[in-house]
Symmetry: D2
Subunit: 139 residues, 4 copies
Protein backbone atom coordinates (compact mmCIF):
# COMPACT_ATOMS: atom_id res chain seq x y z
CA UNK A 1 0.00 0.00 0.00
CA UNK A 2 1.40 3.32 -1.10
CA UNK A 3 1.18 6.65 0.66
CA UNK A 4 -0.72 8.11 -2.30
CA UNK A 5 -3.58 5.72 -1.55
CA UNK A 6 -4.62 8.40 0.94
CA UNK A 7 -5.64 12.03 0.69
CA UNK A 8 -5.97 12.59 4.41
CA UNK A 9 -3.34 11.98 7.08
CA UNK A 10 -3.52 12.49 10.83
CA UNK A 11 -0.11 12.98 12.48
CA UNK A 12 0.77 11.86 15.98
CA UNK A 13 3.79 11.11 18.09
CA UNK A 14 4.11 7.75 19.87
CA UNK A 15 3.82 8.13 23.67
CA UNK A 16 6.06 6.34 26.13
CA UNK A 17 2.94 4.78 27.67
CA UNK A 18 2.20 3.06 24.36
CA UNK A 19 5.37 1.05 23.96
CA UNK A 20 6.08 -2.33 25.48
CA UNK A 21 9.15 -4.08 26.85
CA UNK A 22 10.48 -4.54 23.31
CA UNK A 23 10.47 -0.77 22.83
CA UNK A 24 7.77 -0.90 20.14
CA UNK A 25 4.11 0.12 20.17
CA UNK A 26 2.04 -2.56 21.90
CA UNK A 27 -0.26 -4.16 19.33
CA UNK A 28 -3.58 -3.00 20.84
CA UNK A 29 -2.70 0.69 20.63
CA UNK A 30 -2.89 0.68 16.84
CA UNK A 31 -6.64 0.38 17.17
CA UNK A 32 -6.61 3.51 19.35
CA UNK A 33 -4.56 5.29 16.68
CA UNK A 34 -7.03 4.18 14.00
CA UNK A 35 -9.99 5.29 16.12
CA UNK A 36 -8.41 8.70 16.71
CA UNK A 37 -7.56 9.12 13.02
CA UNK A 38 -11.16 8.25 12.04
CA UNK A 39 -12.47 10.90 14.46
CA UNK A 40 -10.13 13.44 12.89
CA UNK A 41 -11.10 12.41 9.36
CA UNK A 42 -14.78 12.98 10.12
CA UNK A 43 -13.88 16.38 11.62
CA UNK A 44 -11.90 17.16 8.44
CA UNK A 45 -15.00 16.24 6.37
CA UNK A 46 -16.97 18.54 8.67
CA UNK A 47 -19.26 15.64 9.58
CA UNK A 48 -20.77 15.96 13.04
CA UNK A 49 -20.63 12.38 14.32
CA UNK A 50 -21.85 13.15 17.84
CA UNK A 51 -24.58 15.40 16.48
CA UNK A 52 -25.81 12.62 14.19
CA UNK A 53 -25.88 10.19 17.09
CA UNK A 54 -27.92 12.62 19.17
CA UNK A 55 -30.24 14.22 16.63
CA UNK A 56 -30.89 11.41 14.16
CA UNK A 57 -30.94 8.48 16.51
CA UNK A 58 -28.32 6.56 14.59
CA UNK A 59 -25.01 5.14 15.64
CA UNK A 60 -22.12 3.29 14.07
CA UNK A 61 -21.10 -0.13 15.32
CA UNK A 62 -17.62 -1.40 14.77
CA UNK A 63 -18.06 -4.94 13.48
CA UNK A 64 -14.58 -5.93 12.32
CA UNK A 65 -10.98 -4.73 12.66
CA UNK A 66 -7.95 -6.10 10.87
CA UNK A 67 -4.38 -5.00 11.50
CA UNK A 68 -1.30 -6.04 9.56
CA UNK A 69 1.92 -5.21 11.39
CA UNK A 70 4.47 -4.68 8.60
CA UNK A 71 7.28 -2.94 10.50
CA UNK A 72 7.71 -1.80 14.10
CA UNK A 73 6.78 1.68 15.31
CA UNK A 74 8.92 2.95 18.20
CA UNK A 75 8.84 5.42 21.09
CA UNK A 76 8.80 9.06 20.02
CA UNK A 77 8.28 8.20 16.33
CA UNK A 78 6.33 10.81 14.43
CA UNK A 79 3.81 8.90 12.36
CA UNK A 80 1.07 9.84 9.93
CA UNK A 81 -2.10 7.81 9.73
CA UNK A 82 -3.76 7.76 6.32
CA UNK A 83 -7.54 7.23 6.27
CA UNK A 84 -9.96 6.63 3.40
CA UNK A 85 -13.34 5.04 2.84
CA UNK A 86 -12.42 2.00 0.77
CA UNK A 87 -15.96 0.83 0.26
CA UNK A 88 -19.27 2.58 0.94
CA UNK A 89 -22.17 0.16 1.12
CA UNK A 90 -25.82 0.77 1.81
CA UNK A 91 -25.54 0.33 5.57
CA UNK A 92 -21.79 -0.05 6.09
CA UNK A 93 -18.43 1.61 5.46
CA UNK A 94 -15.09 -0.15 5.11
CA UNK A 95 -12.25 2.14 6.17
CA UNK A 96 -8.69 1.57 5.06
CA UNK A 97 -5.87 2.91 7.21
CA UNK A 98 -2.12 3.06 6.77
CA UNK A 99 0.65 4.24 9.07
CA UNK A 100 3.72 5.92 7.59
CA UNK A 101 6.71 7.86 8.86
CA UNK A 102 6.99 11.46 7.67
CA UNK A 103 7.98 11.70 4.00
CA UNK A 104 8.39 7.94 3.78
CA UNK A 105 6.41 5.81 1.35
CA UNK A 106 6.88 2.64 3.35
CA UNK A 107 3.70 1.49 5.06
CA UNK A 108 4.42 0.36 8.63
CA UNK A 109 0.95 -0.83 9.58
CA UNK A 110 -2.14 -1.51 7.49
CA UNK A 111 -5.64 -1.53 8.92
CA UNK A 112 -9.17 -2.19 7.86
CA UNK A 113 -12.16 -1.21 9.98
CA UNK A 114 -15.80 -2.00 9.16
CA UNK A 115 -18.60 0.13 10.58
CA UNK A 116 -22.28 -0.70 10.33
CA UNK A 117 -24.91 1.99 10.77
CA UNK A 118 -27.55 1.06 13.35
CA UNK A 119 -30.21 2.49 15.61
CA UNK A 120 -28.98 2.65 19.22
CA UNK A 121 -30.19 -0.33 21.20
CA UNK A 122 -31.22 -2.11 18.06
CA UNK A 123 -29.51 -4.89 16.22
CA UNK A 124 -30.74 -4.05 12.73
CA UNK A 125 -28.55 -2.08 10.38
CA UNK A 126 -29.98 1.02 8.77
CA UNK A 127 -28.93 3.14 5.75
CA UNK A 128 -25.88 5.38 6.10
CA UNK A 129 -26.79 9.06 6.62
CA UNK A 130 -26.77 10.75 3.17
CA UNK A 131 -24.73 13.73 4.50
CA UNK A 132 -21.93 11.35 5.40
CA UNK A 133 -22.09 9.51 2.07
CA UNK A 134 -22.03 12.85 0.21
CA UNK A 135 -18.99 14.04 2.11
CA UNK A 136 -17.15 10.75 1.63
CA UNK A 137 -17.92 10.70 -2.09
CA UNK A 138 -17.02 14.32 -2.66
CA UNK A 139 -13.44 13.96 -1.55
Amino acid sequence: MKRNTFDFFFPLRVRYSEIDAQGVVFNAHYLTYFDTALTEYLRFLDYDYMGAVKSKGIDFHLVKSTIEYLAPVCFDDLIEIGVRAKQIGNTSITWELGIFREKSDRCLTRGEIIWVCARPGGNCSCPLPPELVDRLSGI
Copy 2:
Protein backbone atom coordinates in the same frame (compact mmCIF):
# COMPACT_ATOMS: atom_id res chain seq x y z
CA MET B 1 3.14 0.22 55.60
CA LYS B 2 2.71 -3.39 56.63
CA ARG B 3 0.61 -6.07 54.99
CA ASN B 4 -1.46 -6.40 58.18
CA THR B 5 -2.70 -2.84 57.66
CA PHE B 6 -5.24 -4.51 55.36
CA ASP B 7 -7.98 -7.10 55.82
CA PHE B 8 -8.92 -7.27 52.17
CA PHE B 9 -6.64 -8.05 49.23
CA PHE B 10 -7.45 -8.28 45.54
CA PRO B 11 -4.98 -10.44 43.56
CA LEU B 12 -4.01 -9.82 39.96
CA ARG B 13 -1.27 -10.70 37.53
CA VAL B 14 0.56 -7.95 35.63
CA ARG B 15 -0.28 -8.01 31.91
CA TYR B 16 2.31 -7.57 29.18
CA SER B 17 0.31 -4.58 27.92
CA GLU B 18 0.93 -2.82 31.23
CA ILE B 19 4.72 -2.76 31.25
CA ASP B 20 6.91 -0.20 29.57
CA ALA B 21 10.27 -0.28 27.84
CA GLN B 22 12.00 -0.68 31.21
CA GLY B 23 10.08 -3.91 31.81
CA VAL B 24 8.14 -2.46 34.75
CA VAL B 25 4.51 -1.42 35.13
CA PHE B 26 3.96 2.00 33.53
CA ASN B 27 3.08 4.46 36.27
CA ALA B 28 -0.48 5.26 35.14
CA HIS B 29 -1.62 1.64 35.36
CA TYR B 30 -1.36 1.64 39.15
CA LEU B 31 -4.45 3.86 39.20
CA THR B 32 -6.26 1.25 37.12
CA TYR B 33 -5.17 -1.42 39.61
CA PHE B 34 -6.43 0.73 42.49
CA ASP B 35 -9.74 1.39 40.74
CA THR B 36 -10.21 -2.32 40.07
CA ALA B 37 -9.34 -3.23 43.67
CA LEU B 38 -11.84 -0.65 44.99
CA THR B 39 -14.57 -2.15 42.80
CA GLU B 40 -13.76 -5.59 44.18
CA TYR B 41 -13.68 -4.30 47.77
CA LEU B 42 -17.18 -2.85 47.40
CA ARG B 43 -18.33 -6.17 45.93
CA PHE B 44 -16.74 -7.96 48.89
CA LEU B 45 -18.66 -5.62 51.24
CA ASP B 46 -21.77 -6.49 49.23
CA TYR B 47 -22.31 -2.80 48.48
CA ASP B 48 -24.10 -2.19 45.22
CA TYR B 49 -22.25 0.84 43.81
CA MET B 50 -24.03 0.91 40.47
CA GLY B 51 -27.38 0.37 42.17
CA ALA B 52 -26.74 3.34 44.48
CA VAL B 53 -25.83 5.52 41.53
CA LYS B 54 -29.03 4.57 39.73
CA SER B 55 -31.58 4.33 42.53
CA LYS B 56 -30.42 7.00 44.98
CA GLY B 57 -29.18 9.61 42.58
CA ILE B 58 -25.75 9.82 44.18
CA ASP B 59 -22.32 9.34 42.75
CA PHE B 60 -18.74 9.36 43.95
CA HIS B 61 -16.23 11.78 42.51
CA LEU B 62 -12.56 11.03 42.67
CA VAL B 63 -10.96 14.25 43.89
CA LYS B 64 -7.38 13.24 44.65
CA SER B 65 -4.98 10.35 43.99
CA THR B 66 -1.52 9.88 45.41
CA ILE B 67 0.88 7.10 44.47
CA GLU B 68 4.23 6.33 46.05
CA TYR B 69 6.34 3.99 43.93
CA LEU B 70 8.50 2.13 46.45
CA ALA B 71 9.78 -0.76 44.33
CA PRO B 72 9.17 -1.84 40.74
CA VAL B 73 6.46 -4.29 39.73
CA CYS B 74 7.32 -6.39 36.67
CA PHE B 75 5.66 -8.38 33.88
CA ASP B 76 3.84 -11.50 35.04
CA ASP B 77 4.23 -10.60 38.73
CA LEU B 78 1.41 -11.87 40.90
CA ILE B 79 0.47 -9.00 43.16
CA GLU B 80 -2.09 -8.45 45.89
CA ILE B 81 -3.69 -5.06 46.35
CA GLY B 82 -4.72 -4.25 49.90
CA VAL B 83 -7.65 -1.84 50.34
CA ARG B 84 -9.09 -0.14 53.41
CA ALA B 85 -11.07 2.97 54.27
CA LYS B 86 -8.48 5.01 56.14
CA GLN B 87 -10.83 7.85 56.99
CA ILE B 88 -14.61 8.09 56.71
CA GLY B 89 -15.83 11.68 56.74
CA ASN B 90 -19.32 13.09 56.46
CA THR B 91 -19.21 13.44 52.68
CA SER B 92 -15.90 11.80 51.75
CA ILE B 93 -13.86 8.62 52.09
CA THR B 94 -10.08 8.37 52.05
CA TRP B 95 -8.98 4.97 50.77
CA GLU B 96 -5.55 3.55 51.48
CA LEU B 97 -4.08 1.01 49.09
CA GLY B 98 -0.93 -1.09 49.16
CA ILE B 99 0.56 -3.47 46.63
CA PHE B 100 2.43 -6.57 47.83
CA ARG B 101 3.83 -9.72 46.31
CA GLU B 102 2.33 -12.97 47.55
CA LYS B 103 3.41 -13.81 51.12
CA SER B 104 5.73 -10.82 51.20
CA ASP B 105 5.41 -8.07 53.75
CA ARG B 106 7.26 -5.53 51.60
CA CYS B 107 4.98 -2.83 50.23
CA LEU B 108 5.83 -2.14 46.55
CA THR B 109 3.41 0.71 45.94
CA ARG B 110 1.36 2.84 48.30
CA GLY B 111 -1.73 4.71 47.25
CA GLU B 112 -4.29 7.11 48.64
CA ILE B 113 -7.55 7.88 46.88
CA ILE B 114 -10.12 10.43 48.04
CA TRP B 115 -13.75 10.11 46.98
CA VAL B 116 -16.42 12.73 47.59
CA CYS B 117 -20.08 11.82 47.50
CA ALA B 118 -22.12 14.07 45.19
CA ARG B 119 -25.33 14.29 43.24
CA PRO B 120 -24.73 13.64 39.53
CA GLY B 121 -24.44 16.87 37.59
CA GLY B 122 -24.05 18.84 40.79
CA ASN B 123 -20.95 20.25 42.35
CA CYS B 124 -22.06 20.06 45.96
CA SER B 125 -20.99 17.20 48.14
CA CYS B 126 -23.67 15.24 49.99
CA PRO B 127 -23.57 12.80 52.93
CA LEU B 128 -22.20 9.32 52.33
CA PRO B 129 -24.93 6.67 52.02
CA PRO B 130 -25.45 5.10 55.49
CA GLU B 131 -25.41 1.56 54.04
CA LEU B 132 -21.90 2.13 52.80
CA VAL B 133 -20.73 3.69 56.06
CA ASP B 134 -22.22 0.75 57.99
CA ARG B 135 -20.48 -1.78 55.82
CA LEU B 136 -17.15 0.05 56.03
CA SER B 137 -17.40 0.39 59.81
CA GLY B 138 -18.45 -3.20 60.36
CA ILE B 139 -15.34 -4.70 58.91
Copy 3:
Protein backbone atom coordinates in the same frame (compact mmCIF):
# COMPACT_ATOMS: atom_id res chain seq x y z
CA MET C 1 -18.08 -20.42 16.52
CA LYS C 2 -19.09 -22.71 19.36
CA ARG C 3 -17.66 -22.85 22.86
CA ASN C 4 -16.56 -26.45 22.29
CA THR C 5 -14.14 -25.22 19.64
CA PHE C 6 -11.86 -24.57 22.61
CA ASP C 7 -10.30 -26.74 25.29
CA PHE C 8 -8.69 -23.88 27.17
CA PHE C 9 -10.40 -20.80 28.58
CA PHE C 10 -8.93 -17.88 30.49
CA PRO C 11 -11.47 -16.04 32.68
CA LEU C 12 -11.38 -12.33 33.42
CA ARG C 13 -13.66 -9.59 34.61
CA VAL C 14 -14.04 -6.39 32.56
CA ARG C 15 -12.49 -3.39 34.35
CA TYR C 16 -14.12 0.03 34.53
CA SER C 17 -11.03 1.48 32.84
CA GLU C 18 -11.75 -0.67 29.77
CA ILE C 19 -15.21 0.57 28.90
CA ASP C 20 -16.03 3.63 26.86
CA ALA C 21 -18.78 6.24 26.90
CA GLN C 22 -21.23 3.69 25.49
CA GLY C 23 -20.64 1.46 28.52
CA VAL C 24 -19.03 -1.29 26.44
CA VAL C 25 -15.42 -2.47 26.17
CA PHE C 26 -13.45 -0.10 23.92
CA ASN C 27 -12.44 -1.99 20.79
CA ALA C 28 -8.65 -1.89 21.34
CA HIS C 29 -8.84 -3.67 24.69
CA TYR C 30 -9.90 -6.94 23.07
CA LEU C 31 -6.35 -7.24 21.75
CA THR C 32 -5.09 -6.87 25.31
CA TYR C 33 -7.51 -9.61 26.40
CA PHE C 34 -6.27 -11.85 23.58
CA ASP C 35 -2.63 -11.16 24.44
CA THR C 36 -3.26 -11.97 28.10
CA ALA C 37 -5.14 -15.16 27.22
CA LEU C 38 -2.29 -16.28 24.93
CA THR C 39 0.22 -15.74 27.75
CA GLU C 40 -1.94 -17.85 30.05
CA TYR C 41 -2.39 -20.57 27.42
CA LEU C 42 1.40 -20.90 27.03
CA ARG C 43 1.68 -21.08 30.83
CA PHE C 44 -1.01 -23.78 30.84
CA LEU C 45 1.02 -25.71 28.23
CA ASP C 46 4.03 -25.24 30.48
CA TYR C 47 5.89 -23.52 27.65
CA ASP C 48 8.45 -21.00 28.86
CA TYR C 49 8.04 -18.15 26.37
CA MET C 50 10.44 -15.75 28.06
CA GLY C 51 12.98 -18.53 28.57
CA ALA C 52 12.85 -19.36 24.85
CA VAL C 53 13.37 -15.72 23.95
CA LYS C 54 16.39 -15.50 26.24
CA SER C 55 18.05 -18.89 25.82
CA LYS C 56 17.32 -19.78 22.20
CA GLY C 57 17.54 -16.38 20.64
CA ILE C 58 14.13 -16.60 19.05
CA ASP C 59 11.12 -14.38 19.31
CA PHE C 60 7.57 -14.27 18.02
CA HIS C 61 6.37 -11.37 15.93
CA LEU C 62 2.71 -10.57 15.74
CA VAL C 63 2.03 -10.05 12.04
CA LYS C 64 -1.77 -9.89 11.84
CA SER C 65 -4.76 -9.49 14.15
CA THR C 66 -8.41 -9.77 13.21
CA ILE C 67 -11.32 -9.08 15.55
CA GLU C 68 -15.00 -9.62 14.84
CA TYR C 69 -17.24 -7.84 17.32
CA LEU C 70 -20.38 -9.99 17.45
CA ALA C 71 -22.05 -8.66 20.61
CA PRO C 72 -21.07 -6.04 23.18
CA VAL C 73 -19.15 -6.85 26.36
CA CYS C 74 -19.97 -4.57 29.30
CA PHE C 75 -18.49 -3.31 32.57
CA ASP C 76 -18.09 -5.99 35.24
CA ASP C 77 -18.95 -8.82 32.83
CA LEU C 78 -17.24 -12.09 33.66
CA ILE C 79 -15.93 -13.42 30.39
CA GLU C 80 -13.98 -16.48 29.33
CA ILE C 81 -11.50 -16.30 26.50
CA GLY C 82 -11.06 -19.50 24.54
CA VAL C 83 -7.68 -20.03 22.85
CA ARG C 84 -6.47 -22.66 20.40
CA ALA C 85 -3.82 -23.03 17.72
CA LYS C 86 -5.92 -23.15 14.58
CA GLN C 87 -3.02 -23.74 12.24
CA ILE C 88 0.60 -24.63 12.96
CA GLY C 89 2.89 -23.85 10.03
CA ASN C 90 6.61 -24.27 9.66
CA THR C 91 7.46 -20.78 10.92
CA SER C 92 4.07 -19.43 12.01
CA ILE C 93 1.07 -20.14 14.25
CA THR C 94 -2.47 -18.94 13.65
CA TRP C 95 -4.32 -18.59 16.96
CA GLU C 96 -8.09 -18.56 17.16
CA LEU C 97 -9.76 -16.83 20.08
CA GLY C 98 -13.36 -16.55 21.21
CA ILE C 99 -14.95 -14.61 24.06
CA PHE C 100 -17.95 -16.09 25.87
CA ARG C 101 -19.94 -15.36 29.00
CA GLU C 102 -19.89 -18.04 31.68
CA LYS C 103 -21.92 -21.12 30.69
CA SER C 104 -23.11 -19.42 27.52
CA ASP C 105 -22.46 -20.86 24.09
CA ARG C 106 -22.87 -17.50 22.34
CA CYS C 107 -19.61 -16.13 21.03
CA LEU C 108 -19.36 -12.37 21.76
CA THR C 109 -16.05 -11.67 20.02
CA ARG C 110 -13.99 -13.74 17.61
CA GLY C 111 -10.30 -13.18 17.06
CA GLU C 112 -7.47 -14.46 14.92
CA ILE C 113 -3.84 -13.69 15.68
CA ILE C 114 -0.89 -14.72 13.52
CA TRP C 115 2.59 -15.08 15.02
CA VAL C 116 5.75 -15.60 13.03
CA CYS C 117 8.85 -17.01 14.69
CA ALA C 118 11.95 -14.88 14.09
CA ARG C 119 15.40 -14.13 15.38
CA PRO C 120 15.44 -10.88 17.38
CA GLY C 121 16.63 -7.98 15.25
CA GLY C 122 16.22 -10.02 12.12
CA ASN C 123 13.50 -9.94 9.54
CA CYS C 124 13.70 -13.57 8.46
CA SER C 125 11.31 -16.08 9.86
CA CYS C 126 12.74 -19.25 11.42
CA PRO C 127 11.20 -22.64 12.32
CA LEU C 128 8.93 -22.82 15.36
CA PRO C 129 10.64 -24.32 18.42
CA PRO C 130 9.86 -28.08 18.47
CA GLU C 131 8.98 -27.98 22.20
CA LEU C 132 6.19 -25.54 21.43
CA VAL C 133 4.93 -27.53 18.45
CA ASP C 134 4.92 -30.71 20.56
CA ARG C 135 2.95 -29.07 23.32
CA LEU C 136 0.45 -27.56 20.90
CA SER C 137 -0.02 -30.86 19.09
CA GLY C 138 -0.35 -32.91 22.26
CA ILE C 139 -3.36 -31.08 23.53
Copy 4:
Protein backbone atom coordinates in the same frame (compact mmCIF):
# COMPACT_ATOMS: atom_id res chain seq x y z
CA MET D 1 -3.21 27.60 40.44
CA LYS D 2 -3.17 30.13 37.63
CA ARG D 3 -2.27 29.61 34.00
CA ASN D 4 0.61 32.10 34.36
CA THR D 5 2.30 29.70 36.79
CA PHE D 6 3.58 28.05 33.61
CA ASP D 7 5.77 29.14 30.71
CA PHE D 8 5.44 25.92 28.76
CA PHE D 9 2.25 24.23 27.64
CA PHE D 10 1.77 21.03 25.67
CA PRO D 11 -1.55 20.84 23.80
CA LEU D 12 -3.49 17.66 23.17
CA ARG D 13 -6.98 16.52 22.30
CA VAL D 14 -8.75 13.95 24.46
CA ARG D 15 -9.18 10.63 22.62
CA TYR D 16 -12.36 8.58 22.69
CA SER D 17 -10.34 5.69 24.10
CA GLU D 18 -9.51 7.79 27.16
CA ILE D 19 -13.00 8.50 28.41
CA ASP D 20 -15.08 6.27 30.62
CA ALA D 21 -18.77 5.46 30.92
CA GLN D 22 -19.38 8.89 32.51
CA GLY D 23 -18.02 10.58 29.37
CA VAL D 24 -15.01 12.02 31.20
CA VAL D 25 -11.32 11.15 31.08
CA PHE D 26 -10.66 8.02 33.18
CA ASN D 27 -8.50 9.01 36.15
CA ALA D 28 -5.40 6.99 35.23
CA HIS D 29 -4.96 8.69 31.85
CA TYR D 30 -3.98 11.99 33.48
CA LEU D 31 -0.69 10.35 34.41
CA THR D 32 -0.17 9.49 30.75
CA TYR D 33 -0.90 13.11 29.84
CA PHE D 34 1.60 14.30 32.45
CA ASP D 35 4.24 11.84 31.24
CA THR D 36 3.75 12.96 27.64
CA ALA D 37 3.92 16.64 28.62
CA LEU D 38 7.16 16.05 30.57
CA THR D 39 8.71 14.36 27.52
CA GLU D 40 7.73 17.37 25.39
CA TYR D 41 9.05 19.83 27.98
CA LEU D 42 12.45 18.14 27.97
CA ARG D 43 12.40 18.24 24.16
CA PHE D 44 11.53 21.96 24.35
CA LEU D 45 14.51 22.47 26.69
CA ASP D 46 16.61 20.56 24.15
CA TYR D 47 17.57 18.04 26.83
CA ASP D 48 18.31 14.61 25.45
CA TYR D 49 16.73 12.31 28.05
CA MET D 50 17.35 9.07 26.18
CA GLY D 51 20.89 10.13 25.35
CA ALA D 52 21.60 10.81 29.04
CA VAL D 53 20.24 7.42 29.99
CA LYS D 54 22.46 5.73 27.41
CA SER D 55 25.67 7.76 27.56
CA LYS D 56 25.88 8.78 31.23
CA GLY D 57 24.47 5.71 32.84
CA ILE D 58 21.84 7.61 34.76
CA ASP D 59 18.11 7.29 34.86
CA PHE D 60 15.17 9.01 36.51
CA HIS D 61 12.85 7.08 38.79
CA LEU D 62 9.35 8.29 39.38
CA VAL D 63 8.87 8.11 43.14
CA LYS D 64 5.60 9.93 43.73
CA SER D 65 2.61 11.21 41.75
CA THR D 66 -0.24 13.34 43.04
CA ILE D 67 -3.32 14.32 41.03
CA GLU D 68 -6.06 16.69 42.10
CA TYR D 69 -9.15 16.41 39.90
CA LEU D 70 -10.72 19.88 40.04
CA ALA D 71 -13.14 19.71 37.11
CA PRO D 72 -13.93 17.05 34.50
CA VAL D 73 -12.21 16.83 31.13
CA CYS D 74 -14.39 15.39 28.35
CA PHE D 75 -14.13 13.64 24.99
CA ASP D 76 -12.67 15.78 22.22
CA ASP D 77 -11.67 18.58 24.63
CA LEU D 78 -8.61 20.50 23.53
CA ILE D 79 -6.47 20.87 26.61
CA GLU D 80 -3.12 22.44 27.38
CA ILE D 81 -0.82 20.90 29.95
CA GLY D 82 1.42 23.35 31.76
CA VAL D 83 4.74 21.99 33.08
CA ARG D 84 7.38 23.53 35.32
CA ALA D 85 10.11 22.39 37.70
CA LYS D 86 8.70 23.50 41.04
CA GLN D 87 11.71 22.41 43.06
CA ILE D 88 15.16 21.32 41.94
CA GLY D 89 17.00 19.39 44.65
CA ASN D 90 20.41 17.79 44.63
CA THR D 91 19.19 14.42 43.41
CA SER D 92 15.50 15.05 42.70
CA ILE D 93 13.09 17.26 40.76
CA THR D 94 9.52 18.09 41.73
CA TRP D 95 7.43 18.84 38.65
CA GLU D 96 4.20 20.79 38.83
CA LEU D 97 1.58 20.26 36.15
CA GLY D 98 -1.72 21.92 35.38
CA ILE D 99 -4.37 21.20 32.78
CA PHE D 100 -6.33 24.08 31.23
CA ARG D 101 -8.73 24.57 28.34
CA GLU D 102 -7.57 26.90 25.60
CA LYS D 103 -7.60 30.56 26.68
CA SER D 104 -9.14 29.64 30.02
CA ASP D 105 -7.50 30.44 33.33
CA ARG D 106 -9.40 27.74 35.20
CA CYS D 107 -7.21 24.82 36.22
CA LEU D 108 -9.03 21.52 35.57
CA THR D 109 -6.42 19.15 36.98
CA ARG D 110 -3.36 19.75 39.11
CA GLY D 111 -0.45 17.36 39.30
CA GLU D 112 2.82 16.91 41.10
CA ILE D 113 5.43 14.38 40.00
CA ILE D 114 8.69 13.65 41.83
CA TRP D 115 11.66 12.19 39.97
CA VAL D 116 14.83 10.94 41.62
CA CYS D 117 18.02 10.58 39.64
CA ALA D 118 19.59 7.13 39.97
CA ARG D 119 22.01 4.73 38.34
CA PRO D 120 20.14 1.99 36.44
CA GLY D 121 19.87 -1.17 38.51
CA GLY D 122 20.91 0.69 41.62
CA ASN D 123 18.81 1.96 44.46
CA CYS D 124 20.97 4.93 45.42
CA SER D 125 20.11 8.37 44.21
CA CYS D 126 22.81 10.37 42.43
CA PRO D 127 23.18 14.09 41.59
CA LEU D 128 21.03 15.51 38.79
CA PRO D 129 22.96 15.98 35.52
CA PRO D 130 24.26 19.62 35.43
CA GLU D 131 23.07 20.11 31.82
CA LEU D 132 19.51 19.44 32.93
CA VAL D 133 19.78 21.71 35.98
CA ASP D 134 21.22 24.49 33.77
CA ARG D 135 18.40 24.19 31.28
CA LEU D 136 15.74 24.12 33.98
CA SER D 137 17.25 27.15 35.74
CA GLY D 138 17.73 29.14 32.56
CA ILE D 139 14.11 29.23 31.65
